[in-house]
Structure formats: structure tokens, C-alpha cells
């Protein structure tokens, strides 16, 4: 409460003086215009407010329960269960709502994420630097040479479609991609851009991996050309499920 000592001339003053006139009248007026210091009433809570509380607690709690990913430190995604793989919530893409993709489509994605930088999305490569994949001897020939060089990499000069390449080096992919990814991407590369070559299965890749386990280094062109230009052994015929029918079903090359 404001105190009411009016005779201010006699009291010692703190701080600077703003030319105040210690006028009884003025001080009284200042006091009079003040209302009481605030105090609190005691109204009870309204039932509607409790309803609001309940709703807030319900929704907040439900949200917390549903999207916490089990409170684990590893769960970066809010869904505790299986992640929706290709869920496009905003939906402008539309086309990829399918849960199961064909090897061609999977391979295309692997290609886009890994190979496209050099070989370009149209498979034409870069003149003088990165060989093309469209119509190349490796992609349209037997799958073995191609799989070998994708797995282990290639360095040194190489001639593709009559052009000489050799300034760049292709890295090995055996450690980065899984058998399935390798099979998918090789299958894709062998069936896009006008290529119509035999597909490749993950089992074939796995077998090749084992075979090449003792060959740590990248291949060179002479080494590759020394290998017969044939497909990998193992069921290439009908193996990819519903596979290359995605882009018009090329029959596997014998």
C-alpha cells in the first residue's frame, strides 16, 4: 500500500531531485488517484475450462504416445513401427505410391543416387571423361564383365564405343552397395536407354563376389577383355519378379 507521509521536506531524499515541490496537496492527490494494490478474487473454476484442460491433456498425451518412437535415441523417425517407405504425404509425385517396385525402378533409384553424377541420367556419360552406358559394349554384352567392373572398379585407359577414356577412375562398389542394389542397378543399366541386355539377380552377384573375393584391386581393360564376354552363370531367365516388364519386357538375352 502506498504510504502516506506527506511532509516530505523533512525526510532525507534519495537520488536526484526533479524539481519536485513537496506540496501536501500534490502528494495527497497522487495518493488519491491510486487505486488499491491488486488483490485476488476467489471465483471457482468453470466446468468448461476443465473440459478444455481435458482436451489439451488428451491430445497432447496422445501425440506424445504416438510419435515418440519409443523414446529411443536412435529413432529419428516419429513412427515407432515400420517406416512408410515411399510415402509421399503431399502427393504431387503420385506415381510412386506402390509399395513394391520392380528391379528396374529400384535400380533406377540406385543409379540416380550413385552413378548418375558421372554417367549422367541419360547414360551418355561425358565425352573424354566418363564412358557412356547407352549402347556400350559392356552394358549390352555379357553381364559378367559389367558386373566385375561395377563390383571392383576400373582404372586405366578403356575404349568404349570407339572412344578412348581413361582420365577418370571408376570406384569399386562392392563395399557400398548390397547384392540386391548391385543387381538392380546393373539390370536397370542394361535395360534403359535402348539397351536390351540380360538382367542380373542378387544371387549371381553374391556368387561373383565370392569368386572375386581375392581380387582386391580395380580391373584394367586388358584384364576385363581377357574374361569371356558372357553372362553370369545362374538363373537370369525369369528370375526378376515381374521385373523388366516395367519398361516393356525385353526378353533376356541368351
Amino acid at each position: 500500500m502506498n504510504d502516506t507521509t506527506p511532509t516530505s521536506e523533512l525526510r532525507p531524499r534519495q537520488g536526484m531531485d526533479y524539481n519536485e515541490i513537496a506540496d501536501v496537496q500534490e502528494v495527497h492527490a497522487a495518493v488519491q488517484r491510486e487505486k488499491r494494490e491488486p488483490r485476488v478474487g476467489r471465483e471457482p473454476l468453470s466446468i468448461w475450462l476443465i473440459v478444455v484442460y481435458g482436451l489439451a491433456v488428451f491430445f497432447g498425451g496422445a501425440y506424445l504416445g504416438r510419435f515418440s518412437g519409443n523414446f529411443s535415441g536412435d529413432a529419428l523417425d516419429p513412427y515407432a513401427g515400420e517406416m512408410p517407405t515411399i510415402k509421399k504425404v503431399t502427393g504431387p509425385q503420385g506415381a510412386q505410391q506402390a509399395a513394391e517396385l520392380s528391379p528396374f525402378e529400384r535400380g533406377k533409384k540406385v543409379f540416380a543416387a550413385n552413378c548418375q553424377t558421372c554417367h549422367q541420367a541419360n547414360g551418355e556419360g561425358v565425352p573424354g571423361q566418363y564412358p557412356p552406358l547407352a549402347g556400350s559394349e559392356f552394358t549390352t554384352g555379357g553381364s559378367k564383365r559389367m558386373a566385375m567392373l561395377v563390383l571392383k572398379g576400373l582404372q586405366g585407359p578403356v575404349k568404349v564405343k570407339g572412344q578412348q577414356y581413361g582420365t577418370a577412375v571408376m570406384q569399386p562398389w562392392d563395399k557400398t552397395l548390397t547384392d540386391k542394389q548391385l543387381a538392380d542397378v546393373i539390370t536397370y543399366e542394361r535395360s534403359d536407354w535402348g539397351n536390351k541386355a540380360s538382367p542380373v539377380t542378387p544371387e549371381q552377384i553374391a556368387a561373383l563376389r565370392k569368386e572375386l573375393a581375392n581380387h582386391p584391386n580395380s580391373y584394367t581393360e586388358p584384364e576385363l577383355l581377357a574374361v569371356p564376354d558372357e553372362d553370369l552363370p545362374g538363373g537370369a531367365a525369369g528370375a526378376p519378379p515381374a521385373g523388366e516388364a516395367a519398361k516393356g519386357g525385353e526378353p533376356p538375352k541368351p
Binding site: Q14, Y18, P38, E43, G60, S68, G69
Partner: protein
């Protein structure tokens, strides 16, 4: 008189705060204009946008808002503790250090020493000074509290005591975990946003709410509607608001539970928002006509209503389905300004209009200037937030559309940024008017009168406001 005893410290804080407000406003103008006209004054290192923006933010947060808040808090604490302010020199010293800290920090940012953490850009040498300054102020507050008279601790005091304690703990925790014993990796961002968010709620929000709880009942002369509402409001506010920090990082590289917890907490802040809003509304019930007359009431009620809007907007934009559109857009800026300006700054303006006459013994000289200030601020911030929220949402929609190149989103938001600059001009006008008016008061040029300055002439009534 208690008021007289508070005069020097509070006026020192207010004067510093208003000076920082003007400097910050000029910087804000530059920041806003440079965003859509980037070649304006470009090429000068200390005027580059990336330095002006944090300098503006820090000056407003630590220079204007904190100091004005502390000034008001000092005065209200003295009143509510019903005791004369002791140790005023402590506070003056505190303010001096604080000013030094802000000056050093802002200079450091402009000349290339920012730390890169939002709201914690002051380098260590400035941060330490701020911390020292604050400890001085806080120790004063504790001392005052111990000397208080009266049994009941009024609502405002809960909020103010909370704020005065939370701020140093927050600041210390932030500095410790980011600079002294730094956490690793993305946790730095988590800690930084925990700090920034809690600064907004536990320091500024608490002061703002506490001051509103004092000013509204005081000016209209009625008790606050309900004690129980106030209690629930306070504790749920403290409990839930402090968890909402991660909503600025939705879908970021964090364990999902952290983000979800923040979103859930934001939903739960519906409880304190509804509670406090209802409390204030019922207190004002029947007294809304008084808004015609009392500047304090106008600013304070505007601020209190803005608090509701601010919280609702916060809930909406933190939900994941909305966040994916508004993340990384100007909506975030609009939201911050809703809280810091439309809510906190307006409440503080109201409190300054109330307190300053009691310190200098004069009334505000020109009612017109007060009216201009109010309307320029109100329209200014209203326009600004509208521009930022609308523009930001459109920007986000464009960003989410992968068939549009990214620069489309920037193109879309540019006209809204220009609108925001216009709003900034209004706000700048408001601040210059206010600073001028305040300067008049400081120089003793206010009206000498026993009747406070009303915004409109008062007809004869029994219950006079103010």
C-alpha cells in the same frame, strides 16, 4: 515514498532500454530493407546483413526488452514488497555493467566475433559482463524479497520471482553447455533452442504476464477474477512452456521423442493460455470502456490479448503437418515478433506509461503523442505479423513443391518482405515518438497536474480509471 526510492534505478534502466530500442529499431530497418534490396549499403563488413541481423536481435533482446523488463520489475517489486527500495546503487551498477555488456557484445557481432548460436551470439567477454551485471540485479531482488512485508505473495510476484531466477539459470546453463563444457554435435542446436525458447517464455513471458497481472487490476481497481485460475495458470505455464524449445527444429536430425515432447508440450500450453486469458478477461469484464481513456490499460490489454494469439499460433505451427510447410520460412520470425513485441513490448510500454509519471512527478505531456504511439505500434506490428505469417506460409508452400525451383519461394515472399519494411517504418515512427516523449519527461517537461493524462477526455464518472 516507495516510488521516490525507486526513481533513480528504474529511470536508469528505462533510459538505457529506450536508447537501445532506438538503436535496435534503426538496425531493424536496415535488416528489413536489405533483405529485399540486398545491394543497399553492401560491401561494408560491419553492415553486412548477416551481422546486422544478430546485432539487432541481441540489442532488442538484451538491451531493450531485458532492461525495460528489469526496470518495471524493480518498481513493481518495491511496490508489492511494500518496502522502500534499498541499495539502489547496486542496481545502478548493475545497469552500468549491463549496458557495457550489450555494447561490447553488439560491437563484437558487427565486427565479426559472433558465436553463431541464435540469441547467444555475444562472445564470451561480453557474456561474462552480462552475467556479472545480472547477478548484481538478482541479488538485489532476493534481498528485497526478504525484506518484504505482508503475508500473501501476490501473483505478479510469483511470475517476477520466477523470471528473476530462471534467467540466470538459463543463461548459465546455455553458456556452460555451449561454450564451457560444450555438448557434441546436434545437441548444440538443441541446447541453443532450448535456451532461446525458454528465454522467450520463462524470462520475457513471465515478466509480461506478471506485469499484466499487476497493471490490469490496478488500473481498473478491481481484484483479479480468480486465485485458482491464477495458480493453475502459473504452474502449468512454467511446466509446459519450458519444454517447447524443439518445435523450431521439427523434422531435424534428432531422436523423434525430443521433437514430439516439445510438440505435445505446446499442445498442453493450451491450459495456461486458456486459464490466463479467461482470468484477465473476467477481470476486465464490464470495464472494457476504460480502454478509451487509459494508455496503460490499452497497451497492457493489447499485449495480453496478443499473448493468446501468440500461443495459439505457436500451437498450430508446431504440429508436424503444419511445420513441414512453415519450417525455414518467415513464419518463424513472425512468431517471435508476436511474442516479443505484440505481447511483451506492448505490455512493457503500458507499464512505462504508468510508472514514469510516478517517478518524475509529472504527467505525460501530450495525449496525442501517446495515441500516435499506440496506433503506430499496433498497426505496425499487426501489419508486420500479417505479412510474415502470410508470406512465410506461401514461401513454405513453394518450397514444398518440388516442381518449382527453390528461388520461386524467395520470389514469392519478397513482396511480403517489402510490406514488412513498411510496417517497420510505422514501428520506427512509434518508437521515435515514444523516445521523444520520454525524453521530455526526463527533462522535467511533463505536465504538472494532479490528473493523469488520458487518451480521451473523461466525462464525469464515479469510477475513474488510473
Amino acid at each position: 515514498m516507495i516510488d521516490a526510492s525507486t526513481r533513480v534505478p528504474v529511470l536508469v534502466f528505462y533510459t538505457s532500454a529506450i536508447a537501445w530500442l532506438i538503436i535496435g529499431t534503426i538496425l531493424a530497418g536496415l535488416v528489413s530493407f536489405k533483405l529485399h534490396s540486398p545491394d543497399l549499403l553492401s560491401g561494408v563488413s560491419f553492415l553486412t546483413w548477416g551481422r546486422l541481423r544478430p546485432a539487432h536481435m541481441n540489442i532488442m533482446v538484451y538491451g531493450w526488452a531485458s532492461m525495460a523488463g528489469i526496470g518495471t520489475a524493480i518498481w513493481i517489486m518495491a511496490r508489492l514488497c511494500r518496502t522502500v527500495l534499498r541499495y539502489p546503487l547496486l542496481l545502478v551498477a548493475g545497469s552500468g555493467f549491463w549496458n557495457l555488456g550489450v555494447l561490447l557484445g553488439a560491437g563484437a557481432i558487427l565486427f565479426g566475433d559472433s558465436t553463431g548460436y541464435q540469441w547467444l551470439e555475444f562472445p564470451r567477454y561480453a557474456a561474462i559482463i552480462l552475467f556479472v551485471a545480472y547477478s548484481v540485479v538478482a541479488s538485489w531482488a532476493v534481498l528485497m524479497f526478504r525484506h518484504r512485508r505482508g503475508e500473501q505473495i501476490y501473483i505478479t510476484q510469483w511470475y517476477l520471482l520466477g523470471a528473476l531466477l530462471w534467467f540466470p539459470w538459463l543463461y548459465a546453463a546455455g553458456q556452460l553447455m555451449l561454450f564451457v563444457v560444450p555438448v557434441e554435435g546436434v545437441l548444440q542446436s538443441a541446447v541453443a533452442w532450448w535456451y532461446a525458447n525458454n528465454l522467450l517464455f520463462l524470462w520475457f513471458g513471465a515478466i509480461g504476464l506478471g506485469v499484466a497481472y499487476y497493471m490490469i487490476p490496478k488500473v481498473i481497481g478491481r481484484p483479479v477474477y480468480s486465485y485458482h485460475l491464477a495458480t493453475i495458470g502459473f504452474w502449468t505455464y512454467a511446466l509446459f512452456s519450458s519444454w517447447t524449445g524443439m518445435t523450431r527444429l521439427v523434422d531435424g536430425p534428432f531422436p523423434a521423442w525430443m521433437i514430439t515432447a516439445s510438440i505435445a508440450a505446446t499442445i498442453l500450453t493450451l491450459i495456461p493460455v486458456a486459464t490466463v486469458g479467461l482470468n484477465h478477461h473476467m477481470t476486465m469484464q464490464g470495464y472494457f470502456p476504460l480502454l478509451r481513456y487509459s494508455p496503460t490499460l490499452r497497451f497492457t490489454v493489447f499485449g495480453a490479448m496478443s499473448y493468446t494469439v501468440f500461443s495459439v499460433v505457436g500451437i498450430i505451427i508446431s504440429l508436424r503437418s503444419v511445420a513441414r510447410y512453415v519450417n525455414f520460412t518467415q513464419v518463424s520470425i513472425g512468431y517471435s515478433h508476436l511474442g516479443l513485441y505484440a505481447f511483451f513490448t506492448m505490455v512493457i510500454f503500458g507499464s512505462m506509461y504508468y510508472i514514469v509519471p510516478r517517478l518524475v512527478g509529472r504527467e505525460w505531456r501530450y495525449a496525442t503523442l501517446i495515441k500516435l504511439h499506440f496506433w503506430a505500434s499496433a498497426y505496425g506490428i499487426g501489419l508486420m505479423i500479417l505479412m510474415l505469417l502470410a508470406g512465410g506460409f506461401l514461401q513454405g508452400a513453394d518450397m514444398q513443391n518440388p516442381s518449382l525451383p527453390f528461388s520461386e519461394s524467395v520470389e514469392t515472399v519478397l513482396p511480403y518482405l517489402r510490406g514488412r519494411s513498411l510496417a517497420g517504418v510505422l514501428l520506427a515512427a512509434a518508437h521515435f515518438i515514444f523516445a521523444y516523449h520520454f525524453g521530455l519527461m526526463l527533462l522535467g517537461l511533463g505536465r504538472q497536474s494532479t490528473v493523469p493524462t488520458f487518451l480521451n477526455p473523461v466525462e464525469a464518472e464515479e469510477s475513474e480509471p488510473h
